[in-house]
Subunit: 229 residues, 2 copies
């Protein structure tokens, strides 16, 4: 997208947000580097929450659009295909359960790859048993057998156990990547995962608080929601 | 933090998530590059939501801890100071209103820098008028005059207008950076902002949907929440 260089960078922030603080360390230099004006605009984060009150993130059209464009940018940079799904949201139970059946690591990876592509490239409806069978058959697996296994009580229980295990691992969203005790959340965390794998995690372990005492950088006091008079 | 290289990378995912799809394009290669095993674990994202049901993100201790560690990593990499705030959440109204008073661009930038540091480095309580006055005085500004101005109806109205303007700009969280019609959200979006500023935005404008028709990659069907039997 061609951007009009005469535009200013509008930087919306609230002191309540440590991510805003971090961004402020970088944005002024960035604006200077590209010779564009910076317009910092203080806003009340609680006011934004109130404006979208009662709606989950994905139900806010502005956020849904941002998220999709963000995904399109990542796909373009990675040079991987990404298409709007034909069916979404959809019921993922069958596809998740079949992915937990007893197959080899290599078969599981092929199955996962095929199911992700079915949703995010080919617009297929992976809630349908016939569709999942076909996808697995095309991947060289026995679709009928695996779909039947995925419908067993054992497969249902396994998915529940996996989700419980995720929660025990501190997982609160997907994708999450866990190595040892370290949880990395979201695509944007991959660079930090990579540093960890390389033995170069910049985190000072002595400064890490417990989950109970950790600051809550996106928390908002209720009184500031009321007091915007 | 030293990471035990014998550990596996656990990758939690749900097909419902396009970010999980994008991560899947990168994680297997990453694991291979560092010679570690990859353990993909399908989980029901709706089950995670249900487990934390009724709690805002910052109220989930696991997420608060993740967010703080994520912030510590960013601070270490940027080599900027970051300390747990002494008062948080706090009422940000005074600090936001004073930041919108009629001063020069340079004075505003110094004021923003000083207020961010007060919260995220020095653990000061910027809800208190005396504290804000002192911070501004120390920055070479007239603290008493600016704090008085910040308490005027005009300053209150201005912050409301700024927040309304943010909403009109499609902003749903902070920090947000807007150039022209492009909204970048969060610290993690800075690399995409930079590409945009450099005239290298990888986004294909022809493929961008409207806010109303955009896919909602984190949306979850209610039936899959119910049907985890």
């Amino acid at each position: 997208m061609v951007w009009d260089r005469d535009h200013r960078v509008r930087f919306y922030f609230d002191y309540i947000s440590s991510n805003a603080y971090m961004a402020w360390q970088v944005i002024p230099g960035l604006a200077e580097r590209y010779g564009v004006a910076l317009e910092p605009i203080p806003v009340l984060f609680a006011g934004l929450l109130k404006a979208y009150g009662g709606l989950g993130p994905a139900e806010v059209p502005a956020k849904a659009l941002w998220m999709w464009k963000n995904n399109m940018r990542k796909a373009a940079i990675l040079d991987v295909p990404l298409n709007p799904p034909a069916f979404h949201p959809f019921n993922p139970l069958l596809s998740l359960r079949v992915s937990g059946t007893d197959v080899s690591d290599d078969e599981r990876n092929r199955m996962i790859e095929a199911l992700f592509r079915a949703v995010w490239v080919d617009g297929r409806h992976v809630s349908e048993t016939e569709v999942v069978k076909e996808i697995l058959d095309d991947t060289g697996l026995d679709g009928s057998r695996l779909v039947e296994e995925a419908q067993s009580q054992e497969a249902k229980d396994r998915l529940k156990e996996q989700t419980d295990r995720a929660i025990a691992d501190g997982v609160f969203g997907v994708p999450s990547m866990v190595v040892g005790d370290e949880l990395f959340w979201g695509y944007d965390d991959i660079p930090y995962l990579e540093r960890c794998l390389a033995g170069k995690d910049p985190l000072d372990p002595a400064a890490v608080p417990s989950a109970e005492t950790a600051p809550r950088p996106s928390a908002v006091r209720k009184e500031s929601r009321r007091d915007n008079s």
